[in-house]
Symmetry: C2
Subunit: 422 residues, 2 copies
């Protein structure tokens, strides 16, 4: 029976049971951290060959000395590997330093300070709004918040954002962008379909410089044997008459080293020229030695695919175990729903409305640190206070088990508390 069907006595019994379970949980003195989508040491070990690369040969395939200045677009052979994987022309893909978040930040900072090629002027001189499918990636929202870009929530479903909401919002000329994590979205695992993607690139936007920030952070990060396809979003956008609408971001943060990988930016020739023109005043070039090391270590697109299969072998069991425990502990109580992602780094857990903050607090007091409730929403405000992001990749399988089991206790306890109080 679900909690809403229980009478007062049954709720009281459940509450007492969960209080006892919670006291036991606290007594175990756990110290577990499920806050961030970080690869585990075992995953990082896969790429330890990078620690002694590129090796004594410091020239790229074109004979460029990667130790010296220059080459702002990045090392060509590495760009070729990711151009193939992302389905974009190599000329339209730039390799950067270790964080695609930085490229996202910089494209927005450049837009604020200078505007895009077709903008009337710098965005900073206007009121700017972004559409934010929720739940979403907190660091996207932090950039907007830092620069006073107003964020408007739209619902993110299994196959992409609610298109009616998006279409309505895009009629506002101050709406200049939408965030998208099209494959295995953070945290919901949503996969944008070709239909949704076509709708987004075809959208009638009031602002001529409307941009889709297409953060393909998990494009190759499959958890099953069925790979979500990489859509030719630049081609679709061009076909729809909006060739400059899409900015693609990706990185090797969860392929090689999270702190010492390579980031990528792909877009139309116009946007690439715009970006490089502005970037050229910021830097003479990226760390080409690290890019060369990556090109040699990964070797080819197939090399990346093989490496991702090894990642899957390490992390898929953690997701499976977490989902199994959620089933075992929470099925039938009507207190939670969660995603069973086909890829990416997160499970998105929805608990009883109004209890997510309490669940995270209970977990924290029991030594299980979760990302703050609301973190997957603009301004950290989950309107229903129900969403919790679970990041199972970093802890060991045993720690994941303990953490999710403890979390389930907190979910039930918070739900029972609320019912008793209500």
């Amino acid at each position: 029976m679900t909690l809403t069907e229980l009478d007062h006595d049954a709720i009281t019994r459940l509450h007492t049971e969960q209080q006892t379970a919670y006291a036991d949980l606290k007594a175990r003195g756990l110290k577990l951290d499920l806050t961030r989508g970080k690869p585990s040491a075992e995953q990082l070990d896969l790429s330890n060959a990078l620690l002694t690369l590129p090796g004594t040969d410091y020239k790229d395939a074109a004979g460029v000395d990667c130790r010296n200045y220059g080459g702002i677009e990045g090392v060509t052979e590495l760009r070729a590997i990711f151009a193939e994987l992302l389905g974009v022309p190599v000329e339209q893909l730039i390799a950067g330093d270790n964080a695609s978040l930085a490229i996202m930040h910089d494209t927005i900072a450049f837009a604020l300070l200078k505007g895009f090629p077709e903008s009337a002027g710098p965005w900073a001189a206007e009121k700017i709004k972004f559409i934010c499918p929720v739940p979403g990636y907190d660091r996207h929202f932090s950039i907007c918040e830092q620069y006073g870009i107003e964020m408007i929530n739209v619902d993110l479903g299994e196959h992409g954002p609610d298109l009616d909401q998006v279409r309505e919002l895009a009629k506002d000329p101050s709406v200049r962008g939408i965030w998208a994590v099209p494959t295995y979205a953070n945290p919901s695992g949503s996969i944008y379909t070709e239909e949704v993607t076509r709708a987004l690139v075809s959208l009638e936007a009031a602002a001529p410089d409307f941009r889709i920030f297409w953060d393909n952070a998990y494009a190759f990060h499959h958890l099953t044997e069925t790979d979500a396809p990489v859509l030719d979003v630049l081609g679709l956008a061009a076909e729809a008459g909006h060739p400059d609408r899409v900015l693609i971001f990706a990185s090797t943060s969860k392929i090689t080293f999270a702190g010492a990988g390579v980031s990528f930016f792909a877009s139309s020739p116009v946007n690439i020229a715009w970006y490089l023109g502005l970037l050229g005043k910021r830097t003479i070039g990226p760390n080409k030695i690290n890019q060369l090391a990556h090109a040699r270590y990964l070797g080819s697109a197939d090399g990346v695919r093989e490496l991702m299969a090894k990642h899957r072998a390490i992390i898929a069991p953690k997701f499976e175990r977490a989902e199994q425990i959620l089933h075992d502990r929470l099925d039938g109580h009507g207190v939670a729903a969660w995603t069973e992602p086909q890829g990416g780094y997160f499970i998105s857990l929805d608990v009883v409305d109004g209890t997510a903050t309490r669940v995270v607090q209970l977990a924290k007091e029991a030594g299980i640190v979760m990302t703050g409730a609301g973190s997957a929403f603009p301004y950290g405000k989950d309107p229903r206070d129900r969403n919790i992001r679970i990041a199972p990749t970093f802890p060991t399988l045993g720690d994941v088990e303990q953490a999710i089991d403890g979390l389930a206790t907190c979910v039930l306890l918070a739900a029972a508390e609320q019912r008793l109080a209500g």
Copy 2:
């Protein structure tokens, strides 16, 4: 006899001689490039150990896994080495990615978008001006130009900028910054004395958020056995009652690898907190693997000093030879003056007023590519069209000899042309 003392016949003879010399020069079909201050392959070879570092141990001294996310302030043991070298507290020094230019850009972009802690608001909402000692570093000026920051020239002497001019300009509240390359300035080789430095940090500036962009790019890049001292500019600024006035930038671009080094930012605790707060929305952290590699390779402040002595052994002869050829070819003609720097990467050559553009054009046509005339000035405009930046580090000693000898021919020819025309 100098050119101005020659009669018409003598000038005509000189002109004919130099025309012949120039024809010979062109006939040699040279292909030489003295445009950028790049280290030579021989200098880069000094640090080839980095190509296989950090090696299999990926943890820093504190046990942090440098392969993963985090640690936005950088690897502590590397920060400690450069804190010692730069004479700043390690807590006030941040290690970044491969380009200090990027940190300079970002501090300005952050100021434009958000303002400094004591600013009334974002700089982008106001008219902003910067004081630019000239000749100076073209990439500093490019950042200002990109963002519409008005640049005002002041004369840079052997020991720093003209303080009367600076004091006068700082009375304007729209003047918010001054560029400074305090040690072995680019391109003049100027060394800011303690007296000048004290004057700058003590300056009465109308703007409360006036900043000195202290680009210590060549702090350890001595060309003689007498090292210019590194001044405690943060301490001097605090003593003068302006603790937040100075932003220090440095990098290993000309210590290890120009394209794959580590950059540094040092300032007051207030500015460091301001910077990290904003940077934290841009990135989760720098490439710590590269920083760890650098910490292991350099080892200590003395390790850096020893390495710089090896650089000196490679490049000092190029400077000596270039200066000798300038003396041999141009002494007594009254057509040029040049610096004999005690460190850094450049010789600043002043030719006859109004002929620098012509000299660079003649050299280019003879296969000797120099940085464009005027490049060391804001907006690329040298008011006297006389300054040429010579970068002798990258070419071989033989190429430097040929290039400077050819350049001297162009200087004389252009001067003779002007006299004949005038």
